[in-house]
């Protein structure tokens, strides 16, 4: 098989859609186009039935008791907003304190910041160099005003897996609602809302080979029953939790994507991990001064993630040199703010190294041939860029770069 360019290794950002998902969706655009809220005719019934089936497929994947615990949204950003703002508002009389971590997605962090402006108090926990939050830190942060803990299943940049089961047990013990942004971990690592004591979980279709524009929020309905204040008002869809006409084709695809994962994720994760390890081994065998960012053991890192820093080579410069390969970088130059990744900074990665980080995200459609090509290309280009790097030359000459007084600019 010949390689097709560009090569996609940015599966944390989004995933291509599985053709099986597309096939399941197609009839719902042109044939079964009814509004799932139309109760008076066949078009509506067919759409409603399809939505109900998708709810079951999703509920099964995450171990939810009932399909009604799945609320459809436009994506995980909306799910995170609804979970956090919805709980904060509904339980305002109980308390005003929220606990989260410094490495959450912006959809969680910025929602929390908004709530701070409205009088809530938020604790943003550190994670340490491993990129994993400590359960003891969560416990220590709890007060009698704590109403919600929000900790992600896995981090989108460094792929580190958080101890949800332990945090879930702690939250149960203290009667605190537990939300997780499960977007990155679903279908790559164990996730079960019942076993992990999760009360609310945000998920999205486009990270699991489904379509963009559709997500869900799992909301526990028993032991405890979690209540939310709706953030979007209108026709009272989704039991009043989220108004708006349902995206039926998207939901059908979301369901199908979950059904596929339910059958295949364990095998798939094994295969992807072998490819990821192959990539890492090849890079580290040929290049000196590469550093893994975050924990590397299987229990604490997603099988598809490789986030590493190639010292003395700026990340965006490297991405440009490998422009036939789609990856991402924690380098400042890739963001409009010119600040390096806040996640890497939270891990205590020095700014110098944060600028040299590259995130590889492998996926269902990554091939061994692609991995070998990318490994060779990255090795060649890192070597070439190091020849071009004054820092590499100085380091080789024994200059301690930390002794130099650099002019910040």
């Amino acid at each position: 098989m010949s390689l097709k360019f560009p090569i996609y290794m940015d599966n944390h950002a989004t995933t291509p859609m599985d053709p099986r998902v597309l096939e399941a969706m197609l009839p719902y655009f042109t044939e079964h186009y009814g509004n799932a809220a139309s109760r008076s005719h066949r078009f509506g019934w067919v759409a409603e039935e399809a939505v109900g089936y998708a709810r079951e497929q999703i509920a099964t994947l995450i171990g939810a008791d009932k399909p009604e615990e799945i609320i459809f949204t436009s994506g995980a950003t909306e799910s995170n907003n609804l979970a956090i703002k919805g709980v904060a508002e509904f339980y305002r009389d109980k308390g005003n304190h929220i606990i989260t971590t410094k490495i959450e997605h912006k959809a969680v962090l910025d929602t929390c910041k908004r709530l701070e402006k409205e009088g809530y108090e938020v604790t943003y926990l550190d994670v340490g160099p491993e990129g994993v939050v400590s359960v003891d830190d969560v416990r220590a942060a709890m007060t009698d005003k704590t109403i919600l803990v929000s900790v992600m299943l896995a981090n989108n940049e460094v792929g580190t897996i958080q101890p949800l089961k332990e945090i879930g047990a702690l939250c149960k013990e203290r009667g605190v609602i537990f939300h997780t942004d499960a977007v990155q971990g679903i279908g790559k690592t164990e996730f079960n809302v019942k076993e992990m004591g999760v009360d609310l979980a945000s998920i999205t279709a486009h990270k699991i080979y489904g379509p963009k524009g559709v997500g869900a929020l799992y909301v526990r309905r028993a032991r405890p029953r979690v209540r939310l204040t709706a953030q979007i008002d209108g026709g009272g869809h989704e039991r009043g939790n989220r108004s708006g006409t349902l995206n039926v084709p998207g939901i059908v695809g979301f369901g199908k994507a979950c059904e596929i994962l339910n059958k295949e994720w364990r095998e798939e994760s094994k295969r992807v991990k072998a490819l990821r390890d192959r990539l890492k081994d090849k890079l580290f065998a040929e290049l000196d001064e590469c550093h893994i960012n975050g924990a590397w053991d299987d229990a604490r890192r997603l099988p598809n993630n490789l986030n590493c820093s190639f010292s003395y080579v700026e990340g965006e410069g490297l991405m440009m040199a490998i422009k036939d390969v789609a990856v991402s970088s924690g380098s400042a130059c890739t963001s409009s703010s010119l600040e390096p990744s806040y996640v890497l900074r939270a891990l205590g990665v020095e700014e110098e190294l944060a600028h040299t980080s590259i995130r590889f995200g492998l996926g269902r459609f990554t091939t061994e041939e692609e991995v070998d090509y990318v490994a060779k290309l990255v090795v060649d280009k890192v070597k070439k860029l190091r020849d071009l790097s004054p820092l590499y030359e100085m380091a080789r000459e024994g200059v301690n770069l930390k002794d130099i007084v650099w002019a910040a600019h």
Binding site: E314, M320, L338, D387, L388, P390, L391, W406, A407, H409
Partner: protein
């Protein structure tokens, strides 16, 4: 962000990469930027006794635009007198490479590197005369 063709061309085929002997009294070295900010440029010029830049070399740690800006600067420096060299403005580099606003700091850094190399050379010369 999409890069301009000129940036890509320079980044893929950087001109005048290398190192001149920084102890040579005819060589001026400028080292600007900071690793923590994500870009460091080292630009060196070798000046003839007639005051003309006969060689220029650079090494840059940075994004494609930073590499391209310094590569272009070395091209422009060769054959110029020091006074002509100090007339190079970052805006000239922005124009030549079609740098977008978020990359203007790369051109500023290149201008700083030129100035800093000239200053280093002049310092060395006056030290030599003083000795």
């Amino acid at each position: 962000m999409a890069y301009s063709e000129k940036v890509i061309e320079h980044a893929e085929n950087p001109r005048n990469v290398g190192t001149l002997d920084k102890e040579d009294p005819n060589v001026g070295t400028g080292l600007v930027g900071a690793p923590a900010c994500g870009d460091v440029m080292r630009l060196q010029i070798k000046v003839s006794d007639a005051g003309v830049i006969e060689d220029a070399k650079f090494k840059t740690f940075g994004c494609g635009s930073a590499i391209a800006s310094s590569s272009l600067a070395t091209e422009w420096l060769k054959g110029r007198t020091l006074d002509e060299a100090s007339e190079i403005r970052n805006t000239d580099i922005v124009k030549e490479l079609n740098l977008p606003p978020v990359k203007i700091h790369c051109s500023v850094l290149a201008e700083d590197a030129i100035k800093s190399a000239i200053e280093d050379f002049r310092k060395k010369q006056s030290a030599k005369r003083g000795a």
